[in-house]
Symmetry: C2
């Protein structure tokens, strides 16, 4: 089964907007077992839309469009589709009810222009848009399916996930596909691949594995194809269990959960609290943790000690530890963690001290050299890491490594 994606909007062609809808939609289609053969972005022009539809229909069975459904003059997709499918426009009462409901919630008046928003081509099956005023439109012609969706990512995503993908599965009798993403950290892609290669080679025929690396994280995506969804889910879970036996410590969660969310869940569940003492990460860990709603329940705060003076005054790091070993050292980072634990009176404290770069490296301690410590009421431990040369990535990787050290401690 082949699909094409057509994204309509002048803003895409002047580069004002990055086409994130396209990659998100392509992922969803791929995961549904559909082969995406082309993604096309065009302007809000009648001829361009017509041509794109003709050409896509010549190559694919499924044509998904986004954009051009707004109430303003420049949005012409609905009109073009009516003409493309030789269809009259009819007034669709449920759509008008939704327009009125949304306007009421935003304290706007409904005008005649808005009444026009409820006009749809007679030949389409409207798809209810619970997050906006423009409904989606589903057309069938010559055993091909054409779907038009709104271009606002939040509206596109919900409509596609809840309505379009299920309807496509039904219409084309697509095989069941089940997938699960295993989130790992602590080992680079090639080392991880080496460690799990026997498991990978012994995966059943109908389960495929994809490595999706990011700085500090490797996502492992398992995709199972077959007839019975419940059965596939079982098969995938079995493989994930086997994976746990090989690399249990590296797995911090599933399906795009973030490390900061996992830490939040672990701290909440155990009723424990956290503080951080950050040198090279410069507040990045605190910012990750506090990006999670409700984090004030378990996160007490951080000292970003970007100067030696701050380390001494605010975290009680002994001056001679810095003099003797330098700020990037085992004794300093451990003193930072212990200092934060005491100052914030928490159950845990993590600390970082490293050379983020691009300058500041020496032969003995090149850029990327990073000490990370974890303090608990039972003592403090630390570990030395060697990250790369890129400042932003070093900060990100140090933050992930610090939180992972905490995760493994809580997990026990």
């Amino acid at each position: 089964m082949k699909a094409e994606i057509i994204n309509i909007g002048d803003e895409l062609l002047i580069g004002q907007v990055v086409n994130t809808n396209a990659s998100w939609m392509a992922t969803e289609l791929t995961l549904a077992g559909v082969n995406v053969v082309q993604i096309t972005a065009i302007a809000d022009h009648e001829k361009a839309i017509g041509n794109a539809l003709d050409q896509a229909a010549g190559r694919a069975d499924i044509i998904l469009m986004t954009g051009g459904l707004g109430p303003t003059k420049d949005d012409i997709t609905k009109k073009v589709l009516a003409s493309y499918f030789n269809s009259e426009m009819i007034f669709h009462e449920p759509t008008f009810e939704q327009v009125k409901a949304i306007f009421k919630a935003r304290h706007f008046e409904v005008s005649d222009v808005n009444r026009n928003q409820a006009l749809i081509p007679e030949k389409c099956t409207p798809l209810f848009n619970k997050n906006g005023t423009a409904p989606g439109m589903w057309f069938e012609q010559n055993n091909k399916v054409f779907v038009s969706m709104p271009g606002v990512p939040f509206e596109t995503k919900v409509m596609m996930k809840e309505q379009v993908i299920p309807k496509l599965k039904e219409f084309f009798k697509l095989k069941s596909i089940v997938y699960k993403t295993v989130m790992t950290t602590g080992l680079g892609e090639s080392f991880l691949a080496e460690k799990i290669k026997d498991w990978e080679n012994n995966l059943p025929e109908n389960i495929k594995l994809a490595y999706l690396p990011q700085p500090g994280i490797v996502r492992l995506r398992l995709t199972a194809k077959g007839e019975n969804e419940a059965q596939l889910r079982k098969e995938i879970d079995l493989q994930v269990n086997k994976l746990h036996m090989l690399v249990d410590d590296l797995i911090f969660g599933y399906d795009d959960v973030t490390m900061e969310e996992v830490i939040g869940q672990l701290l909440t569940k155990s009723g424990k609290t956290l503080a951080t003492a950050e040198s090279c990460t410069g507040g990045y860990i605190a910012q990750m943790i506090t990006s999670v709603a409700g984090s004030s329940n378990y996160f007490m705060g951080s000292v970003v000690s970007y100067s030696n003076r701050a380390k001494i005054n605010l975290l009680n790091v002994p001056e001679q530890a810095i003099e003797q070993h330098g700020a990037v050292s085992k004794s300093v980072v451990e003193a930072m963690a212990t200092g934060a634990l005491k100052k914030f009176n928490t159950d845990y404290a993590v600390a970082t001290s490293g050379i983020a770069g691009p300058s500041g490296g020496t032969d003995e301690k090149p850029v990327g050299t990073t000490w990370i410590a974890l303090a608990t009421p039972n003592g403090v431990k630390s570990k030395l890491f060697h990250f790369g040369e890129h400042r932003g990535r070093n900060i990100r990787r140090a933050a992930l490594a610090a939180l992972d050290m905490l995760r493994l401690e809580i997990k026990g």
Copy 2:
């Protein structure tokens, strides 16, 4: 002049990679006065590439391709282009020199496969790739230009900016276009538009204005078209000067400079130092500041006081100020700023205390209520803000507002 962009790569069609090259290229072309009519993403398939080229050549004068130039088997763009333009492959010595140089720098051995990387179609003009092994290829046919560039964004960008755009300007004798982006903060798009509407209405015919809003920031992009680049630059500068007379305080820089970079420059120039005391921003400001290389010269650190206890213990906020006025109050945020100034012994300290949301709001202090303070050796001042309901955006906007308060103070 019309252009099309063709991005080649299986990773785009399975949604693994967001096509950021496309939007970046579209921006560059638009700014060069070229009208982008279609952006197409296709797989590494010979037939798909050939079809895409045929169709693009039917609509556009300029066809820019990226991707599929790697040394592995799945990258076939070079081969397809040679066949498309009926061209033999020839060995290109300067390319081989570059392959060898890059391999040497990475401590890799050069193999026969790598020798093949120096083969290029005879009919193309090779474009030197200073950041990678694959050269770009420039073809001319029927007064149309076809350019193939590597798909690695850093390589694409440099090649496009330094070679492709200038060559296109020359080949098609494009009019000169000069643009300048004015970075503003502190006023929403519609209020800003109201304030500068007379100026906007009086812009000369050949200068266009675009509003490009982001959370907390509105970028104003001025684009001037004409014959003489130096003259256009003067005309734009004149308009920017006029804009300064209207909204001087709102302008923090030009051409996509970030607030944290501006703050870094101001502090470096004035030889002053900074600390932060963060409640609702949770380390976000510290993280912004320390994302800039060299920030350890002027940034001493931060106390992220996510609990009342931390505010009292680490920043010497008086306990009765919290009891009387609550943590989100003028007196507490001012005490936080003053406390940070003293603890870190800096010239400036900014502090934030607010309700980031989504919960924690009250009738009196709804989500988004945020106090921001700036302490200097001469005293402390503060300001109350009402941001929105979205946690992430509230944090970002509070951080920008705090740094902007500092910017205006240093600027005087």
